[in-house]
């Protein structure tokens, strides 16, 4: 009687952990989650007080001239309105992370749904999806979100709105094109035929056979989308200034207005700007690293034009 043998093959999971980009990206994301969690903890402990100097909205330290540079009391200094920068950073992380998560979800959902249906149905459905996603590549989601955002009352345009809008627009473009190509390759594999032979229709085939194989590709696209979304939201806040929700972009606005950008002037509270810019870059970078790391492991063929059709 045959004995079951287990061939030696390095599991994808092991390769994930050994990929430096993926690991550092995850580490950074964890860092930001900790930062988000830190704010309420700090407020409850170190920054305790009825009228606390560390309130991200109205805190004002009467002992110091504002804006003040980094010091023992204010590790990242204060802005021109007297607010402690560390507090603002930990507080605004929440908004930016919310944008990131909602954008990632939106991108993933859009590209998975469209990519899988287009690959399964082929024919005119595939044509339409391909052409639309080809066209959407030329409309940068950042600019589109910017156009929407500028006219809006930004406080009503919440993190979720920004994230989902960006994710939706980005997802329709490059993300769907990539996932569709991957889905087409999966559809060529015999186990899809086998599923059809078992009587599986579109629903079952797509959900149980196609989608599981597309998740890594969609994850890559989602991560790259998130990086874009964080930047888009920050830019929107940066340009909208006072009306914006407090996110990292707002910090940059605080530290440096448009006009001062070009002047490259350092009289401005550069510590505020750097904190904001660093926050944006690191958060976007974290997700981008995860995406690129995932792509190295799962996705080598997704970019190959020969693999399509």
């Amino acid at each position: 009687m045959p004995v079951a043998t287990i061939p030696r093959r390095k599991a994808r999971r092991v390769r994930l952990v050994s990929n430096a980009k993926f690991v550092s990206g995850v580490a950074l994301v964890i860092f930001f989650i900790l930062v988000v969690a830190a704010h309420p903890i700090f407020r409850a402990t170190i920054w305790d007080g009825e009228f606390t100097v560390y309130d991200p909205f109205i805190g004002y330290d009467t002992q110091v001239v504002h804006p003040a540079g980094p010091s023992a009391d204010h590790w990242l200094g204060t802005d021109s309105l007297g607010r402690d920068v560390v507090s603002m950073f930990t507080f605004s992380a929440r908004y930016s992370v919310a944008v990131a998560l909602s954008a990632g979800l939106a991108t993933a959902v859009v590209c998975l749904v469209l990519g899988s249906i287009a690959a399964y149905r082929r024919g005119w459905v595939d044509s339409v999806v391909t052409h639309v996603s080809d066209a959407m590549v030329f409309l940068p989601a950042l600019l589109a979100v910017y156009i929407i955002g500028v006219g809006s009352d930004l406080r009503a345009f919440s993190a979720l709105d920004v994230g989902i809008t960006f994710g939706f627009l980005y997802g329709l473009g490059p993300a769907t094109a990539t996932v569709r190509a991957a889905a087409l390759s999966v559809m060529e594999r015999p186990f899809i035929d086998a599923a059809r032979l078992a009587g599986a229709g579109m629903g079952r085939t797509v959900t149980r056979h196609l989608l599981p194989h597309l998740v890594p590709h969609a994850a890559v696209q989602a991560m790259i989308g998130v990086a874009g979304a964080v930047t888009a939201e920050a830019f929107l806040a940066f340009r909208s200034g006072v009306g914006a929700n407090i996110g990292f972009g707002y910090l940059v606005f605080e530290g440096l207005t448009w006009g001062e950008l070009f002047a490259g002037v350092l009289d401005t509270p550069w510590w505020v700007m750097i904190t904001g810019a660093a926050g944006i870059t690191l958060l976007a970078g974290a997700f981008y690293l995860i995406g690129v790391g995932l792509r190295e492991i799962f996705d080598p063929h997704s970019l190959d034009p020969r693999r399509v059709d």
Binding site: A141, L142, I147, F235, L261, G264, L289
Partner: protein, 408 residues
Amino acid sequence: MSLVETSEAAPRRARFPWIVVFLSRRAAWALITLAIYLMVVFVFIQVWVPFNFATPALQGGIEAYRAALESLGLDRPLSERLFEFVGGLIRGDLGTSFTGQPVWDLISDTAPVTIFVFAVGALLAFVAGEAMGRFGAWHRHPVTGSALSTIGVLFTTIFPPFLVFLIAFFLRDPFWELREAIGLPVDSLDVWRDAAVEQNEVLLLMSLAFLGAVVAGVLVRTWAHRQRARWVAAMAIPVTIIAAAAGIWLAGFGVEAIDLLYRSDISQTVATGSPLLVLVGVVLITFGQVMFIMRVGIEDQRNEDYVLTARAKGLAESAVRDRHVARNALAPTIAGSFLALPTVIAGMVIIEFGLEVRGLSWAFFNAVETQDIPTIMGVLVILGVMGILLRVAADVAIAHLDPRLRRT
């Protein structure tokens, strides 16, 4: 069994070079995609956005909202607006801006700089990213690999206004000093006051010359490889670019061309930004993405059997890497890099505006601030056209590299 394998007759030699049929197919694709893109832009600006543009006016009541819509030209029936849009496009008319100027004038005024920066920047970024991906991925040196990756990620995800700040802070003064050292007058106006040509004309000339030089260089290089003239092939592209530059100089536009790259205006009546600095910014934000995609391609190819064969034949590592593996990884890299286009365009627009270069970004941001719908649409249309042309060029490049794709 017979020892000789015969086959059916060889395929007929095509009457035209493959590129003719290929381009006509891509032209059809381009037109369809452009049509869909224009519809998307139209729906986006005329249907989606107005809710956002006019909603703040709601606070003043329904009347104020309607008035806002009217001033935006958005109260007219959708079909009427659609006819106007499409009709205008067919005539080549992009409508009239709310400021009274025809949109086309605004765009033709500002687009050349952006086109120049985009074309040159994208190409340079691709070359740099591809080279870094190639070297970094092949030799697997842990330190350089990580360093390159880190720098790549950093510049890809850096907050664009912050990058603008860094460029302005670190590079602008040295650039101005360099300008003086070359011998250009301090004020750009001095250069252009007596010039016989328009700035935009020179910019377009520079763009075309650069692109033409690259295409010519690639063709010469391909021919040289077939003739086994290794050195000619290696020098082909640099030589053509230098030739193009020399051509511009000899045509008498040399000083103007260099000035355009640098720009300096004390009187501040002309935008003071330097397109060269924008170029630096564009290359910085793009090279990383290309590098990562190239790296994936190389990693994918390096395990193929033909690599083993090449080494066994005695080829030097660099030859295996460059002439075989990199060449095969190049087509997917072009295709993959293209998917990063929206991020590049967005970043370019922000950097250009931040560095106060009067290009498409200037038209765009002004239009958005003032809710100038025709101009917003016009800019998006032009960006789309630029992108589609680039895509067709990229497809030609991919098909040139991989003959299997010439039939599509």
